[in-house]
C-alpha cells in the first residue's frame, strides 16, 4: 500500500499538469468546435462524395509515403567505415571497419588470421567514442602482447604493436582529417527537403483522415478527434524543426512511426473518441522517451552505464506489477496510478533490449552470458506469475534473438531454449485461457458467436471493408471488444481498407529490414544487437497481433506497435524505435549518432 502511495505521489505532477492544461483544452475545444459544426449541417450526399474520394486518396498517399520513406531505409548504400588499419608483418594493411573487432583464427572473426598458434577467438580490439583504443584478451591460449608485454586489457596508442600467436600487427589509427573526409563522403540520408515533402504528404493524409471523421461524426466527438490528429501533426513538425536545428536530416523512420500513430488515432476515433487525447499524450511521452533513449545511446560509454539502470528498472517494473498490480481478463499486468492504468511490462521490453545489447569484449566473456540468462529466467518467472501469455511470448522471442546474436555456440542457445521451453509449458499450464486460444486457432468458424467471436467478427469486417474500406466511422467492428487494440488491424482494414492496413504492416517490416541491413555497418555490436532486438520485438508483436487477428496464428492479444490504443505500449514502441535509430550510421542521419567533429564545428 505504501508503494502505491509513493507511486501516486510520483504521478501527482502529471495530474497537476493535466489540470493546468485543462483550460487550454477547453479553449481548443471551443476554437475547434467551429470546424466540425460547419460540417454537421452537410448533406449526406456531400459526405458520401467526400468519403468516395478519400477512400482512394488515402491509400495512394500512404503508398507514396511508404515508397518515399521505406525505400531509402531498404536501399541505402552500406559503406563500411574505416577506423584504423592493422599493418601485417608483410606490410599488408587490414582495414578495421567496426568499433569492436574480434581477432582470431575463426573465419567469422573480423580480423581472421589462419595460424594454428592463434586462438579461435583471440582478442577484441575496441575503439571508444573519444577515439581511444583498447585490446582485450579473450581467454586465448597463448595470450595477447602489446609492444612485447603480455596484457589482459590494455589501452593502445597509434603505432602500438599487438602480437597474437606470434603475429605482429601494428595499429595505424586514421587521422582526424581522414575521419572528417570519411564522414563527408558517406552517403547522406535523404535530406531535409525530402523529409519536408514526406511530412507534408503525411500531413495531407492526416487532414483527409481527420476530415473524414469530421463530416461523419457528431460535433463533440469530432472535436476530440481533431485534437488527437492535430496534436500528432503539431508534434511531428516540431520534431522535424528540432532535427533541423541539431543538423539531422533523416526523418524517414519518424515519418513512418507518425503514420502508424495516425492510423491508431483513426481507430480510436471510431472506437473510443474520448481516449484520443490520452493516446496523444502517450505519443508525446513516447517521443520524449525516444529522444531520451536515443540520447543515452549516442555515447556508447553512457549507454553502457544506463544499461545497468535499465536492467534494474526492467525487473523492477515487473516486480512492482506483481506487488501492487491489478488483474484484468486473467492477466495481472496493470497498475492503476492516479486514475491512469499502466502496463509496466511494456516498458520492461525496452529495458530488456538494453540488458541484451552488449559490446563484443563483454560478449566474449562467458560470465556475462550466464548473468543474462539468469536475468531472462527471472523475467520469465515474473511473467509466468503475472499470467500474461502474450507478453511472455514476446520476451521469449526477444530472448532468442539476443541469445542467438550474442552466443558463441548453438549449444548455449539450445540450453536456453530448453530452459525457457520448460518455463513456457509452465506458463501454459497456469494459463488455461492461453490453451483455449490454441483450441480456437484455425477453428474460429466452428464457434463464431462465442470462442471465435472476436476473430470471426474481425474477418467479416475485413471482408466487408474490401480493399478500400467502408469509410470512417462506418465500421461495425468498433462494437467488438478490443477493437482499437488487439484486433485494431481489422478495424483499420474495415474502415480504411485492407490496402492501408497492409501498408501499416509494411511500415513495421521496413524497420526490421533496416535493422538487418544496417547491422553490417554498425560500429558496435551494442548497436546492432540493440537494433535487431528492438526491431525484432516490433516485428513479433506485429506477427502476433495481425496474424492472430486474422486467424493465421493463435490469438494472443498483444498490441500492434504504434497503432494499438494503449499508453504504455505506445511509449514502449517509441523506446524500441530509438534502438533502430541508433544504428543508423548514414551521414548526419540519426540524432542518436554523434556528428563527426568537423560538421559539429560548422
Amino acid at each position: 500500500m505504501t508503494m502505491q502511495t509513493l507511486l501516486d505521489m510520483l504521478m501527482q505532477p502529471f495530474v497537476w499538469l493535466g489540470e493546468l492544461l485543462a483550460p487550454v483544452a477547453q479553449w481548443l475545444e471551443t476554437a475547434l468546435g467551429g470546424i466540425p459544426a460547419s460540417f454537421s449541417g452537410m448533406d449526406a450526399a456531400y459526405e458520401n462524395f467526400y468519403i468516395s474520394m478519400v477512400r482512394y486518396a488515402c491509400p495512394i498517399l500512404a503508398a507514396l509515403l511508404l515508397l518515399r520513406c521505406a525505400m531509402p531505409l531498404l536501399t541505402f548504400r552500406r559503406e563500411p567505415e574505416i577506423w584504423a588499419w592493422l599493418v601485417m608483418p608483410g606490410g599488408e594493411r587490414v582495414p578495421v571497419t567496426h568499433w569492436e573487432n574480434v581477432i582470431g583464427r575463426s573465419k567469422s572473426c573480423d580480423v581472421s588470421i589462419a595460424l594454428s598458434t592463434v586462438s579461435r577467438n583471440h582478442a577484441v580490439l575496441t575503439r571508444y567514442d573519444d577515439g581511444s583504443w583498447t585490446i582485450t584478451d579473450a581467454n586465448s591460449k597463448d595470450g595477447t602482447y602489446v609492444n612485447g608485454e603480455r596484457v589482459n586489457i590494455c589501452a593502445l596508442q597509434d603505432g602500438d604493436v599487438i602480437s597474437v600467436g606470434g603475429v605482429k600487427l601494428k595499429l595505424k589509427v586514421i587521422t582526424r582529417q581522414q575521419e572528417q573526409l570519411q564522414s563527408q563522403l558517406r552517403t547522406r540520408a535523404s535530406g531535409p527537403i525530402a523529409g519536408f515533402f514526406n511530412l507534408l504528404l503525411l500531413t495531407v493524409f492526416q487532414v483527409l483522415t481527420m476530415m473524414g471523421f469530421a463530416v461523419h461524426d457528431a460535433v463533440e466527438n469530432s472535436v476530440m478527434v481533431l485534437e488527437g490528429f492535430g496534436g500528432i501533426i503539431l508534434a511531428q513538425w516540431l520534431l522535424y524543426v528540432f532535427y533541423l536545428v541539431i543538423h539531422r536530416s533523416s526523418f524517414e523512420m519518424e515519418t513512418l512511426a507518425f503514420f502508424l500513430c495516425s492510423l491508431g488515432m483513426a481507430a480510436i476515433a471510431t472506437v473510443a473518441p474520448k481516449e484520443s487525447l490520452k493516446q496523444l499524450i502517450a505519443m508525446l511521452v513516447g517521443v520524449f522517451v525516444y529522444l531520451l533513449v536515443g540520447w543515452s545511446l549516442r555515447n556508447l560509454e553512457r549507454a553502457k552505464r544506463v544499461r545497468y539502470l535499465a536492467v534494474a528498472a526492467g525487473l523492477g517494473f515487473l516486480l512492482l506489477t506483481l506487488a501492487i498490480g491489478t488483474e484484468y481478463y486473467g492477466a495481472k499486468n496493470w497498475i492503476i496510478v492516479g486514475g491512469m492504468s499502466l502496463q509496466p511490462s511494456e516498458l520492461s521490453k525496452v529495458c530488456f533490449v538494453f540488458a541484451g545489447a552488449s559490446t563484443m569484449d563483454r560478449i566474449m566473456n562467458k560470465r556475462n552470458l550466464i548473468a543474462f540468462i539468469v536475468y531472462s529466467v527471472l523475467i520469465c518467472g515474473c511473467l509466468a506469475i503475472m499470467n500474461d501469455f502474450g507478453t511472455a511470448l514476446i520476451f521469449f522471442c526477444s530472448f532468442l534473438i539476443i541469445a542467438y546474436l550474442r552466443s558463441g555456440s548453438m549449444g548455449t542457445v539450445a540450453l536456453a531454449i530448453t530452459a525457457l521451453g520448460i518455463a513456457g509449458i509452465l506458463a501454459l499450464r497456469v494459463a488455461p485461457h492461453a490453451l483455449n486460444r490454441f483450441a480456437t486457432w484455425r477453428h474460429v468458424w466452428d464457434d463464431p458467436f462465442n470462442k471465435g467471436y472476436q476473430q470471426a467478427q474481425a474477418l467479416m469486417c475485413i471482408a466487408s471493408g474490401g480493399l478500400f474500406g467502408v469509410g470512417p466511422g462506418k465500421g461495425w467492428l468498433r462494437k467488438v471488444f478490443a477493437a482499437d487494440s488487439d484486433i485494431v488491424f481489422a478495424t483499420i482494414s474495415e474502415e480504411w481498407g485492407l490496402l492501408l492496413a497492409m501498408m501499416a504492416v509494411l511500415c513495421l517490416c521496413a524497420f526490421g529490414f533496416f535493422a538487418i541491413r544496417t547491422a553490417r555497418v554498425a560500429r558496435s555490436s551494442f548497436y546492432s544487437i540493440g537494433a535487431c532486438t528492438a526491431a525484432g520485438v516490433l516485428l513479433i508483436q506485429t506477427i502476433l497481433n495481425v496474424l492472430g487477428t486474422v486467424d493465421i496464428l493463435p490469438f494472443t492479444g498483444v498490441t500492434l506497435p504504434f497503432v494499438s490504443n494503449g499508453g504504455t505500449s505506445m511509449v514502449a514502441s517509441w523506446g524500441l524505435l530509438a534502438f533502430v535509430k541508433a544504428a543508423d550510421t548514414r551521414q548526419n542521419a540519426s540524432f542518436a549518432v554523434k556528428l563527426s567533429r568537423k560538421v559539429r564545428q560548422k
Partner: protein, 457 residues
C-alpha cells in the same frame, strides 16, 4: 562483429513469417472473403440475425423497412404491424429469415470494394407482398390470433401472409409484462411456424383420396342421422344430414358420411394419400422452412381413425403447406412453389431475381379437376358465391375442435379458378368459432383487395 552481423538473418525469418502470413491471409481473403461477409452475425449485413442493410419494399415499392440510417420501418402504423413478421423487429426476437436470406445480394459485396457502394445505401429488396392487402387482412383479423395468406399458384408470389397478434415496432407494447394473453406467441410467424388442427378442411384430403381409390364412390350414398357409432364412441354431426352422396357430403361437411367414406378408403390408403399429397411435409422457400404437419393413425381405434379423416384426432397442418395444397388442386395437380422475395437490386444491378419453381405433381389432372368441381360446388351450395364478387372461388371451411371449454379454430382454405386471378388461400382464426362464418368475411375483403392489386398491374 562479423558474427553478430551474419546472425541478423534471424530477423529475416521473422520478416518471412510476417510477410508469408500476410500473403496467406490475402489468399484466404480472396478465396473466402465472400463467405465471411455473409456468415451469420456479419455486422454489415445482419442486425440481430435479421437483415441489417438496404431497404425492403413491397410489390408496389412501398418502403417496409429502411436500414440505411438505423432501422426505420414503414411510415404508417398499420403497415408496420402487418409486415413486422416478415421484416423482423429491432431486438431480433422475431426471426425474419426470408428477408435476411438475400442480405449478401443486398450488400452488393465485391472483393475490391467490400460492401461499400458509392451511394452508401445498400440494395433494395422487393417483396411479393402487397402492403395494401396485408393491411386489409390484418384489419379483418380484428385482433384475433391466426393467419391469412394468399398466393399466386401460377407464379408463386405470396401477395399476402399476415400473422396476428402483432405489434408496432415503433411503439413496442409491454409484451413480457402482459398477463391478458393478448401477446401469446406474438414473435411467431404463424403462417410459417405454426401447425393447426385442420378440422373439416381436411375432408378435402379424404375426399380426393376416396375419389382416386374407390372407382364407384360417386354413385354411392351415405346416410347421416347425426351420429355414427363405434361401440361406445361415435362420430357426430350437429344435425342429421339424411342421405347424401360424396359431393353433397363435402358441401354440407357431413362428419357421419365422411366416417363411412374413411372406412371405404382404409388406413393404408389414407396414409398413402397423405404422403402423396405431401400434406404433412415441410415446405422451404427463400431460406425459411415451415413447421411440419402431423397425421398419426398408429394405435388408433376405428373412431379415432374416422376423426383423423375429418381433420380432428391428432391431425396438424401448416397454413403455408395447406395453401400450397390448394394451389396444387387449382393448378391441376401441380402448382408454383410460394416465395416472398421478388428481386434484389444493388448498385444499379439486379443481384437476385426470383424464378418460379414448381411442386411435384401430387394428383392427376382429372382428379384435380374433379376436386375443383366439388370445391366450387361447396361455395355455390353452402357458402354463397355472391360473397366473392367477380371471383370464381372454390373452397372448404373447417371448425377445428380444440377440446373442452375452448372455442374452436375457424379455418378456411381454397382458391380462385379465374384465369386472371390464380390465387390460392388459407385463413386461420384461432378460437374464431365457425369456419365459414368467421373466415369468409375476412377472405371476402382480402380476395377483393388481391383482385384489385392484380387488376392494377
Amino acid at each position: 562483429m562479423n558474427r553478430v552481423t551474419k546472425r541478423t538473418w534471424l530477423m529475416g525469418l521473422f520478416l518471412g513469417i510476417l510477410l508469408g502470413g500476410c500473403g496467406l491471409f490475402f489468399f484466404e481473403y480472396l478465396t473466402k472473403g465472400p463467405t465471411w461477409v455473409i456468415s451469420p452475425g456479419s455486422p454489415h449485413v445482419y442486425n440481430n440475425g435479421n437483415l441489417g442493410c438496404g431497404t425492403v419494399v413491397d410489390r408496389w415499392g412501398n418502403t417496409l423497412l429502411d436500414l440505411t440510417e438505423g432501422r426505420k420501418y414503414a411510415a404508417d402504423a398499420q403497415t408496420r404491424k402487418s409486415t413486422l413478421h416478415w421484416v423482423g423487429d429491432r431486438r431480433g426476437s422475431i426471426s425474419a429469415g426470408a428477408v435476411a436470406k438475400y442480405a449478401s445480394a443486398m450488400a452488393g459485396y465485391d472483393l475490391v470494394n467490400g460492401v461499400y457502394n458509392s451511394n452508401g445505401l445498400g440494395g433494395v429488396e422487393q417483396l411479393t407482398l402487397s402492403a395494401r392487402v396485408q393491411n386489409a387482412a390484418l384489419s379483418g383479423m380484428l385482433g384475433r390470433k391466426g393467419t391469412v395468406a394468399v398466393y399466386n399458384y401460377k407464379t408463386g408470389e405470396i401477395l399476402c401472409a399476415v400473422t396476428s397478434p402483432t405489434y408496432d415496432p415503433d411503439n413496442v407494447p409491454d409484451i413480457e409484462g402482459d398477463t391478458t394473453g393478448a401477446y401469446t406467441g406474438v414473435y411467431l410467424n404463424r403462417f410459417l411456424q405454426s401447425s393447426y388442427p385442420p378440422g373439416s378442411i381436411y375432408k378435402i384430403v379424404t375426399c380426393a383420396a376416396a375419389l382416386d381409390c374407390i372407382p364407384d364412390i360417386e354413385s354411392r350414398t351415405f346416410t347421416c342421422n347425426g351420429k355414427y357409432a363405434y361401440g361406445k364412441e361415435a362420430i357426430t354431426c350437429e344435425s342429421a344430414h339424411g342421405s347424401c352422396d360424396i359431393k353433397r357430403a363435402l358441401a354440407v361437411s357431413c362428419n357421419c358420411a365422411f366416417a363411412q367414406i374413411a372406412e371405404l378408403v382404409g388406413r393404408k390408403n389414407m396414409q398413402k394419400y397423405v404422403s402423396q399429397f405431401q400434406i404433412t411435409e415441410r415446405l422451404s422457400f427463400d431460406g425459411v422452412t415451415t413447421s411440419a404437419g402431423k397425421y398419426d393413425i398408429s394405435d388408433t381405434g376405428a373412431a379415432s381413425f374416422a376423426w383423423s379423416c375429418i381433420g380432428q384426432h391428432t391431425d396438424l397442418v401448416n397454413p403455408c403447406r395447406f395453401m400450397t395444397f390448394m394451389g396444387q388442386i387449382a393448378g391441376g395437380g401441380v402448382a408454383a412453389e410460394p416465395y416472398l422475395v421478388a428481386q434484389v437490386q444493388s448498385g444499379g444491378e439486379t443481384t437476385y431475381r426470383a424464378q418460379t419453381s414448381y411442386t411435384d405433381r401430387i394428383m392427376s389432372e382429372a382428379l384435380a379437376n374433379k376436386m375443383k368441381n366439388y370445391l366450387r360446388n361447396n361455395v355455390e351450395v353452402t357458402y354463397g358465391s355472391w360473397k366473392f364478387p367477380g371471383l370464381t372461388v372454390c373452397g372448404k371451411s373447417g371448425t377445428a375442435e380444440l377440446g373442452e371449454n375452448q372455442i374452436s379454430n375457424a379455418m378456411f382454405a381454397g382458391f380462385c379458378t379465374d384465369e386472371k386471378y390464380p390465387l390460392a388461400f388459407v385463413c386461420v382464426v384461432e378460437n374464431g368459432g365457425y369456419g365459414a362464418a368467421t373466415c369468409i368475411p375476412i377472405l371476402s375483403t382480402v380476395l377483393s383487395e388481391c383482385k384489385a392489386v392484380l387488376d392494377s398491374e
